[in-house]
Symmetry: C2
């Protein structure tokens, strides 16, 4: 038996090599979304599938399992600080390995097939605007994901086994508690808002914003807040995303709408927030847990923080509005900063999650969380999903989707087997506010620096407190360490209330 040090180095080399395949697959996928010739899709799928097979073989390699077992039981490891890089590497690789080997390869392949087919059927169903086209495929996916959850195992409820993949350590009962508390505040807030003294006129952000000017403006703004273009790129895709292809190669994407300012601008700030997190992870641990993001919820907190807490703030536009006016003179010369700031902060119930504002967005997520949990727990039949969806929209947002395409068929996630993923979006919003409050408490009021176009203090704080931590702390422990508290709905609600009060003229 090799000594612990040699084993650890072997483990590290193994994961580093797997990382070469993962990052190569990431490039194949980035290229597919941004550059692929129109006829090249089928072969690209074959390439990605083959790399996924090699990656899965490496990640479930029995030799890896043996190293991980011996290392985690070794005397040396028992005395390590659990947040150390070594302990984190062993613990998190073992966590992943154990999850993976529990799922029989027949089931892995069945899920891959069902989701690949499922996404194609979902596209057809959405085009046909008919949930019944997708029903049988979704029944199969839910059934397979239930089997996957059972194979992985869980303490309290089946859904937790799936949620844990995206938000390690999260359990649905706690998520439910914080989401309930959030909804209890959000729904009356929306009601109140309708009676506000100052309603928002958002027409100015629907004027003509030439795309070349937008490109320059969003690139400059994302660089200004701290996205490093020597270590990244910005490209155009239909669905914006952020991916990393190496420790110094983080790529974000956006989409431009000539008739709507928000789409590219806030989309880019959002993805740049994700990208700054990736760029701030420790390069020397690239493709190993100490150099990987903590959880999807924490990842989303970084995008939402820059998109909403910074990018939709008054102070941010003290710096950027004059620049926007010189970039878009036709659209903005007769607009005041206050008008513009109000317009980008309009809050109004709508049907489509990805177009939702800061307040209603979380209601879209809570609905999806409740529905997918019920599907997995067997409390809701797929056949009843559309009516359950519409009922929840009526209750939470006061609107009922007129059809399936703008209702239950709008998101790709379920067709792709991404169940347990939705709640991380709202967890991200919650963490973002709580982190932002902690930063403000520790650094003092950040508004004056934003107004001067200086985002360094906030970014440095995030670097120190969030980025560099990687997976060394769980999301819960990171939150405790950074903010001194358990995750709570209150910072987000306070942020939203105070913004709404100012913008909609509600009595405080």
């Amino acid at each position: 038996m090799a000594d612990t040090k040699t084993q650890f180095e072997a483990l590290r080399a193994h994961a580093t090599q797997t990382g070469y395949l993962l990052s190569s697959a990431a490039l194949l996928e980035w290229d597919q979304q941004t550059k692929l010739p129109s006829a090249a899709g089928p072969y690209r799928s074959d390439q990605i599938t083959y790399l996924a097979k090699l990656i899965h073989e490496r990640e479930t390699d029995p030799q890896l399992g043996q190293w991980l077992n011996e290392l985690s039981e070794s005397a040396k490891m028992s005395t390590e600080d659990p947040a150390s890089d070594r302990a984190t590497t062993v613990r998190e690789l073992k966590r992943k390995y154990d999850r993976l080997v529990k799922v029989p390869s027949d089931l892995v392949q069945a899920i891959a097939r069902a989701c690949s087919t499922g996404q194609q059927i979902w596209v057809e169903a959405r085009k046909a605007n008919d949930f019944s086209v997708f029903r049988a495929a979704l029944i199969e996916i839910i059934n397979l994901k239930q089997q996957q959850a059972d194979a992985i195992g869980f303490d309290h409820c089946r859904y937790d086994a799936l949620l844990d993949e995206y938000e390690p350590g999260a359990v649905s009962s706690e998520v439910t508690d914080v989401f309930e508390a959030l909804r209890a505040e959000l729904v009356p807030l929306l009601e109140q808002l309708k009676g506000g003294a100052d309603q928002v006129d958002s027409s100015v952000i629907h004027r003509d914003y030439p795309i070349d000017a937008q490109k320059e403006f969003v690139k400059n703004a994302s660089a200004k807040i701290g996205f490093d273009y020597n270590r990244g790129r910005l490209d155009v895709t239909y669905h914006p995303f952020c991916t990393e292809i190496g420790p110094d190669d983080c790529r974000i994407t956006t989409r431009y709408n000539e008739a709507f300012f928000n789409s590219a601008f806030f989309g880019t700030l959002h993805e740049a927030g994700h990208g700054m997190y990736e760029q701030g992870l420790r390069s020397e641990w690239y493709s190993l847990p100490p150099g990987q993001y903590c959880s999807l919820g924490i990842h989303e907190s970084q995008s939402r923080l820059w998109e909403n807490l910074v990018g939709r703030s008054e102070a941010f536009w003290q710096h950027f509005f004059p620049l926007a006016q010189s970039c878009f003179p036709d659209a903005l010369n007769d607009v005041t900063r206050s008008q513009f700031h109000r317009a980008i902060n309009e809050i109004t119930p709508s049907l489509i999650r990805v177009e939702a504002d800061e307040v209603t967005y979380n209601l879209h997520i809570i609905i999806r969380f409740e529905l997918e949990r019920s599907l997995i727990e067997g409390d809701l039949d797929v056949a009843d999903l559309p009516s359950a969806w519409n009922q929840k929209y009526q209750q939470a947002l006061g609107i009922t989707p007129p059809d399936d395409a703008s209702g239950v068929l709008q998101d790709v996630h379920w067709s792709a087997g991404l169940i347990g993923y939705f709640p991380t979006y709202s967890l991200g919003n919650l963490y973002a506010s709580q982190f932002f409050d902690a930063a403000s408490e520790q650094l003092g009021d950040l508004k004056p620096s934003f107004a001067e176009g200086d985002f360094g203090p906030l970014k440095d704080w995030l670097h120190q407190n969030v980025y560099q931590s990687g997976k060394c702390l769980s999301p819960r422990n990171l939150c405790l360490k950074v903010t001194g508290d358990e995750l709570s709905h209150e910072p987000l609600i306070q942020h939203l209330k105070s913004k709404i009060d100012r913008i909609y003229g509600l009595p405080t």
Copy 2:
């Protein structure tokens, strides 16, 4: 022992999977040249090196060797037509396998290291304009390539073992014969040309050609001759190239010079010629020999054919010159088609290979071929290379490089261990003329169709006669089948003479 059919299917699956890695590595390399963020180079090298290792392991997999041995000795194979897809697959994979396993892995790694270092040192030496900086690195590379040649083995001379990698079946004595014949014609031709009645004024192609207009013009022209942009892309790089990332994903690159028309235009036609060959290979045999290019010489014939025999012809510009005038009105409105055609066909001795004209280009190649052969055979010391280089330039072109940077240090090939590669450039020119003559003989005069912008007949002929053949025939047998003759210098010389006569007003 598995039956022959099962073994063949296993072989095919093995090579197809290796193809997924090869094409993924090709994407990593394409991206490195075109899109990579500036700081991302080191990790990209690690990714490529790792994939190269996996590919080498697969290509030297003993299981593959066993299948190949059993299949090539099987009764079924002994009765197959050697040009059949099955026989070609087994023969060519075995050829490659046997070459690879003959070279010890220590030597493979030593060459990889020496060439990686060698290229960096070459860059420094070129910057310092001092061959002595590069000398020791080149001595090591030559020494290792000699060892490689010895490990592979050869019938007549060591250089053949290296040449065979790029031009299967070629032997240097035959290449020497055809090159000698070519030089014997080219050198006096150049002399004669100086006394021609009509010297060329090429100033019109050095006017201002706005880059956006160039981009549109070269893309349209390359599409018009037959490069399929649904199955390919055109991007910008410093060193233009063509690569394939899948059966429906061929990517070419070019570079734009605002003050010089030829650079992007003929560079793109050249790469599009390569690309059309790749696009015309049989997709169902992608990553297997029947669906792979015949040799580098044949590949180059396809680029040179479109660049020179088509793209520099008068008939081509009957169609394209009016379009060029409307694309570049400031540069071309006061220029006649004849002036323009003469300018793009200027012939003049120069120092730099990649900027050379159709006539002198081959002299640059012959010089390199003779020098690298002498280095490998041990007839020339690396220390004497610069003076040998300069002497040959004086003899063949009548000019002596004033320094190493514009002389012996100008090409990357030797520093990258690409020895045996240079002759394929001129073999390409020779094949191009011989193929073009055969096409013209079989299809009738092609000029009228070019003048109407119709390149379909020529492309279809190449598709049928060259593209679809893959590696089923050797370069020599392909030439025999398509043209009825062994490779000869005469078609190229005839083409050049007749062009020079018309343009420079030489007595015919």
